[in-house]
Amino acid sequence: MDNDLHLTQHISKRFNEELEDARNQVMQMGGLVEQQVRNGLKALLEADTELANKVVDLDEQVNQLEIDIDENCTQILARRQPAASDLRLMISIIKTITDLERIGDEAVKLGRNALKLSDDGKNSRQYVELRHLGEHVITILNQALTAYARMDVEDALKIIQSDRLIDEEFDNISRLLITKMMEDPREIKKALRISWCARALERVGDHAKNICEYIVYLVKGKDVRHTSIEEMRRQIQD
């Protein structure tokens, strides 16, 4: 089977539309949470409380989309009893939106911490590492959503592979923060907040990686979760 899943070639036109709609809704939700993370990071780095509030408020819309998409998928499963690639599409959508919703939750954490830091009269401007990590994570999330839209397994694998770099960056930030806390205990409260933000960004990377694993499942029918990158490549080539 090629990468194109021929979503629009069913004998039932209505079924084509239902699958297209479900997939488009996932894209829409992906776009929203990407924006949420982007704004969350910006609010944090620029101590923008207005933007931080927006990030927190947007979560309601993301949650509602998750509920709507789940309902649509339930209807499709009940009425159409999809099989093969259609079934895999349903499963991958249901799983993907769970990860997207959690990415939204992580973005909210960024927003809330931005507000708390601002309340304490502090900001995170001096943390260049946090900016690096955040931008890296946003790039990966964006790539994962693009790979999902294109159903591109090769890109998905590259993204899965690059998650390791995010983990390394997160470890670096943690070390840096520990040093700062040891140097000046008055910084502990702020450093902890920054650490939670770094942790939230790192989790966004994990969720993006999960989405890439669902892409592999959707296109290739192989469940590559909890395997090494070499094992993934081997399975895909089988």
């Binding site: 089977m1 004998i11 009893q81 099989a83 093969a84 895999r88 029918g221």
Partner: protein, 278 residues
């Protein structure tokens, strides 16, 4: 790919069949068919099909109308012998025995390889006589008590006994559709077959009667080897362990049911089970 080589290719739209993908050879085969070709006069209905029926398993044959799945099923107990213009070529073995051997009596073969049809077709006789008919003509019972036992145990295995035990003398045609079909299954079981062929056994039944038949199929596979032709993909997915997809007389793909319905290899299989244009 199977280890059997196929030379004939067939093109439908822009998708080509090259032999059969998947595993057609069973480790413990009850029946083995190799390079089977079937002709109705000049028209070829089955093209070089090879597959095994695994012992004590349910094998589902699926495919669009006219793909040859019923024709193939009917070869397995020589039901096609009744059609004068039909010619069957190839090797068809039941436990290593050639079922098309000249010295083999098709009537005895059909006792070993029983068949259940789409429409329940009980004889216009009592429920008891419907089931007793086969054992009587094959001389399987020496006295009335033995015959009674065969009838009762067959009705029990078919899951019908409790519903009809008080009216075994009533006509079989008076039962509901689902009950009639189970009566036909009891009639098939009564002659102790080794293989049961089912040609859309539940397509004329409502969902409840269908569920009862499917549950029965699941129980029957403990004792018998079963091949079922069905138009209902969900039914094939529910009852079978192996699925074979036929298309225009060829076996396109065969494999474990769990794989065929989640990740089929051939595009034609994918198109059929997902309802796409083939």
């Amino acid at each position: 790919m199977s280890d059997l080589s196929f030379t004939e290719n067939l093109t439908s739209s822009d998708i080509t069949i090259e032999g059969t993908v998947g595993k057609v050879v069973a480790e413990d085969a009850k029946m083995s068919m190799r390079n089977v070709n079937v002709f109705y006069a000049d028209k070829q209905a089955i093209k070089n099909v090879s597959l095994d029926l695994a012992r004590n398993q349910v094998t589902a044959l699926i495919g669009p109308s006219g793909c040859g799945k019923s024709t193939f099923l009917r070869c397995l107990n020589r039901m096609n012998d009744t059609i004068p213009i039909c010619r069957v070529e190839g090797e068809l073995l039941l436990e290593e025995q050639d079922i098309y051997a000249k010295n083999l009596d098709p009537v005895l073969l059909r006792a070993r390889v029983g068949m259940v049809f789409q429409k329940p077709n009980p004889f216009p006789k009592s429920i008891y006589d419907n089931v007793a008919y086969g054992p009587k003509i094959h001389g399987l019972a020496t006295n009335k008590a033995e015959l009674d036992e065969i009838v009762i145990s067959s009705l029990q295995k078919a899951g019908l006994f409790n519903e009809v035990k008080d009216r075994l003398d009533s006509p079989g045609t008076g039962l509901s559709g689902g009950q009639q079909q189970r009566l036909c299954i009891a009639r098939t079981i009564a002659v102790s077959p080794e293989v049961i062929l089912m040609d859309e056994p539940a397509s004329a039944l409502d969902p409840i009667a269908t569920a009862v038949i499917e549950e029965l199929i699941d129980e029957l596979k403990e004792k018998y080897t079963i091949a079922i032709v069905t138009h209902s993909m969900q039914q094939a997915a529910r009852v079978s362990q192996t699925t074979a997809y036929f298309h225009m007389g060829q076996l396109v793909e065969m494999g474990k049911t769990e794989q065929i319905f989640t990740n089929p290899v051939h595009t034609l299989t994918e198109n059929y089970i997902t309802g796409r244009f083939g």
